[in-house]
């Protein structure tokens, strides 16, 4: 192979060192760490399908007479945005499947962000030094919800037009500045003819650029700080135990991308979403009953439905009802969300850095608060389908509404209390979170039976290690040696937060060098080789006594 071009680049950019270090980077391997990946891969699918859609979508509110292939709309005067979405769905090859993949990806994207956020919250991964990434992630969630709403609005169909109407009213409800804001945003009164092109610009340019930037920052900070890990055998605050970027992690992550893509493609191809041809164009005097937003706006819609019609007047200004559920609630929600690492610190007084995660049972108060808050938003979420629930279960809509008004206050404390009890109870169980030990029954020659504890499922441990080991060992021998040699020379600049802690740790505990988490085998932040090694064929056999004490964490 000709290495000349690679050398050329390397001599100018020094890429070899960075690449080698990156390829050797260790990622803790746990399924719950892959939730954020679902969101990231959905984002990629969104970008790809979104680019396709822009080729055919016409962001204009100008009237046009539709004469396309969808007969029930033939001859109707519709906006160009709506007409082009119909054409995109019925006349562009693969247009509908692209549109549906885009929409499904958006639904899955935000769901994955939320689940990822919950994982980070309940395991305490937001604690020092990761507060910045917590805020970046929260901003990404906010932007994703806003972005989703804009995209949902663009086809200018009857359902989404009603959503824009609600957004207009919400903007109007902001005290003092509301009417100005609404007027600036819509270029005058609702609906006007400017909102679709403006939403389009924000949807395809502004927010995606912001999100791509924030996502890059999110990943870079994670890379720089290194991923947290769960407590367990051989895992300390000062090491990272996991699989190497290349090839094990790259194969896993790459495979997961294709799994995500295939699920989204299957949904896009098999399950109909947002059939705007059945909804018709948005015409302000027309309205359809049973209008809901997409799921991620559900909690806001539910809050709007549940909030009583109070209008508060003060200082000569009337604050409309919708201000409280639709402006104040999301403001408080995201404010508290971003401030949580500091709020928690007020109570815990914990200012230390943490790389080892907590299990939800180890922190019953956090778990309890998280579950309570989650229950609150779940009730609001379900309240956005009051009419559908009333219709499906044949109860009065008024009853459903009042039931939710009560439940929104009753369910969260109950959920929080139960969560606290369960977490505290589980935390007090000594063996909780430990691998279950196998009980082996022996029969002596005399026929006497005895029961002995064996190692926790040793054959499973072996299989897991062997599987990853096979992949890792395909790495060329010389590159491994090379890598380790350089790591020793490296200044550890890739090792951001524990430079100080390295200094005050006994040398035998961390080994020669924390090495920036880029050991090929398994113990980058700690002593190489201790605990048997991730890829050693028999698992951590010799370190049994040692690991017992380490398990106490």
């Amino acid at each position: 192979m000709n290495y000349k071009p690679i050398d050329w680049v390397d001599e100018r950019l020094g890429t070899a060192k960075f690449t080698r270090k990156s390829l050797n980077k260790i990622f803790p391997d746990h399924w719950s760490f892959m939730l954020g990946e679902i969101a990231m891969y959905s984002f990629f699918i969104l970008l790809a399908t979104g680019v396709f859609l822009t080729l055919f979508f016409v962001p204009s509110s100008a009237d046009t007479v539709y004469h396309g292939s969808y007969a029930p709309m033939d001859g109707h005067v519709v906006s160009q945005a709506y007409a082009s979405t119909l054409n995109l769905s019925f006349s562009v090859r693969a247009g509908l499947v692209m549109r549906q993949m885009h929409h499904w990806a958006a639904n899955v994207f935000i769901a994955a962000i939320v689940v990822h956020l919950l994982r980070v919250f309940f395991t305490g991964a937001f604690r020092k030094p990761r507060e910045i990434n917590w805020i970046v992630g929260s901003l990404l969630l906010m932007l994703a919800i806003f972005e989703g709403f804009l995209g949902y609005s663009l086809p200018d169909d009857l359902i989404s037009g009603t959503g824009i109407r609600i957004a207009y009213s919400i903007t109007l409800s902001i005290p003092i500045v509301g009417s100005y804001l609404a007027s600036f945003l819509f270029g005058g009164q609702f609906p006007g003819n400017k909102i679709i092109p403006r939403f389009y610009t924000i949807h395809i340019l502004l927010i995606p650029a912001l999100m791509a930037g924030l996502l890059g920052a999110h990943l870079a900070i994670m890379w720089h700080q290194k991923h947290t890990q769960y407590k367990g055998k051989g895992k300390t605050e000062k090491n990272v135990v996991g699989i190497a970027m290349w090839p094990a992690y790259a194969m896993q992550a790459g495979g997961f991308f294709f799994l995500t893509a295939s699920v989204l493609a299957a949904l896009g191809g098999l399950v109909q979403i947002n059939p705007i041809w059945l909804y018709g164009p948005y015409i302000p005097y027309k309205v359809s009953y049973a209008v809901q937003p997409d799921w991620y706006m559900g909690w806001l819609d539910g809050a709007l439905r549940l909030f009583p019609s109070w209008e508060i007047t003060g200082f000569g200004h009337m604050i409309p009802t919708v201000f409280f559920p639709a402006v104040l609630l999301p403001g408080v929600t995201f404010g508290l969300l971003m401030a949580w690492p500091w709020i928690e610190r007020i109570f815990t007084k914990d200012t230390g850095a943490h790389n080892l995660l907590e299990s939800p049972r180890e922190n019953p108060w956090r778990t309890s608060i998280g579950v309570g808050v989650m229950a609150f938003y779940m009730v609001l979420f379900f309240a956005s389908s009051t009419d559908v629930l009333a219709n499906t279960f044949d109860v009065s809509l008024n009853f459903v509404l009042w039931a939710f008004r009560v439940l929104v206050f009753v369910i969260p404390p109950i959920a929080a209390y139960v969560a606290h009890k369960l977490a505290a109870e589980a935390g007090s169980v000594e063996s909780a979170g430990r691998p279950r030990k196998a009980m082996v029954v022996f029969r002596s020659n005399e026929g006497e039976y005895t029961t002995e504890e064996s190692d926790p499922r040793p054959e499973l441990e072996f299989k897991r290690h062997a599987m990853h080991g096979d992949i890792a060992q395909s790495l060329p021998e010389e590159s491994r040696l090379h890598g380790e040699a350089t790591e020793k020379a490296d200044d550890g600049e890739d090792y951001a937060f524990s430079v100080s802690s390295v200094a005050d740790t006994p040398a035998e505990e961390i080994g020669e060098r924390p090495s920036g988490g880029s050991g090929v085998y398994e113990v980058p932040r700690g002593a190489p080789g201790s605990g048997g090694g991730m890829f050693s064929p028999r698992g951590p056999v010799h370190s049994k006594e040692v690991s017992d004490s380490e398990d106490e964490e």
């Binding site: 803790p28 391997d29 746990h30 399924w31 719950s32 939730l35 679902i38 969808y70 007969a71 029930p72 709309m73 001859g75 109707h76 769905s89 019925f90 509908l96 549906q100 499904w104 639904n107 899955v108 769901a111 689940v115 359902i159 769960y230 996991g242 699989i243 997961f256 799994l259 699920v263 989204l264 949904l267 098999l270 399950v271 109909q272 947002n274 059939p275 041809w277 059945l278 909804y279 018709g280 005097y285 309205v287 359809s288 009953y289 049973a290 809901q292 997409d294 799921w295 009419d387 219709n391 279960f393 044949d394 109860v395 009065s396 809509l397 008024n398 459903v400 691998p435 499973l460 897991r464």
Partner: protein, 284 residues
């Protein structure tokens, strides 16, 4: 709590993702010209000063009236006395429990009886759709009997979709019907325990009857509001909505983002979480 019968069966929790049988149900636009089974506006109820839109003679008219056979009045009377008179009285003149039916016209009687709403399952709640207790001939006999008692009211419309426009129907439906029945016709709960029923089980005649007679809480759209042609257009669009173009795949009950959200979260994210659990590490 008694569950309302939904004969259309479209509001189903969409669990069966694998069943992609409904993919691409195009070409349901053409309902085909339905031959007018009867011509002439003569009915047993005699002459009406108000026509209620019924036209006579023309086979290609959008709506023609069903001719009721005077010979069936006796059968109708027997059926009425057996099944209806305990509330409405022997001569349909009403009692303290139920209203006077005289002069309401055959269309009203036919709608309530043929959709199974009458006899009522439960007089305290909105009349529910259920399988009709009578055959078509028996229903027509009851219609003939009640409309023979007094003149007036709209006659049973026979809708001819041959000349109807599905496009005009969409415009009229979205303006006049979607506010309660929803834009996909799936129906929804309104305030105070009242609901707009699903349009999926309705026949052509029943849709036209409902428009012309305004059953229950529904407003009545007389010929001054909607012409016969417009009623036929709406009927054509409603029939289309019963089997709409699900070009995108499984229709998810046509209730919009509610089911879509559940599918996105439970099936989309759920299957990906399972996949992550499958390929990711598990032991701590």
């Amino acid at each position: 709590m008694k569950f309302r019968k939904k004969l259309g069966g479209r509001v189903v929790v969409p669990v069966a993702l694998g069943v992609a049988a409904s993919v691409g149900g195009l070409a349901l636009f053409s309902q085909g010209a339905v031959a007018a089974t009867s011509t002439g506006s003569s009915s047993t109820s005699g002459a009406n000063s108000v026509t209620y839109g019924g036209t006579s003679g023309a086979g290609s008219a959008p709506i023609t009236n069903v001719k009721l056979n005077p010979a069936t009045i006796a059968l109708g009377k027997t059926l009425f006395v057996e099944n209806c008179s305990s509330c409405h009285g022997d001569t349909a003149s009403g009692t303290s429990r139920a209203p006077n039916l005289q002069g309401l016209g055959a269309a009203t009687i036919d709608f309530w009886v043929s959709t199974g709403r009458m006899p009522l399952a439960d007089p305290t709640v909105q009349a529910t759709v259920k399988p009709s207790r009578f055959t078509k001939q028996q229903t027509l006999a009851i219609d003939a009997y009640v409309s023979s008692l007094a003149s007036g009211g709209p006659k049973i419309p026979e809708v001819n979709l041959g000349s109807a426009s599905i496009s005009a129907g969409e415009g009229l439906f979205s303006t006049n019907c979607a506010a309660c029945h929803t834009i996909t016709g799936v129906g929804d709960a309104l305030a105070g325990g009242v609901y707009a029923p699903s349009l999926y089980p309705a026949t052509k005649t029943q849709v036209a009857e409902a428009i012309r007679t305004g059953p229950g809480n529904m407003p009545r759209f007389g010929p001054g509001n909607l012409s016969n042609q417009q009623v036929a257009d709406i009927v054509k669009y409603v029939k289309y909505l019963q089997h709409p173009n699900n070009a995108g795949g499984i229709g998810l009950g046509h209730v919009g983002p509610v089911t879509e959200g559940f599918v996105g979260i439970l099936i989309g994210l759920g299957s990906l979480m399972i996949a992550g659990y499958w390929i990711g590490g598990r032991a701590h």
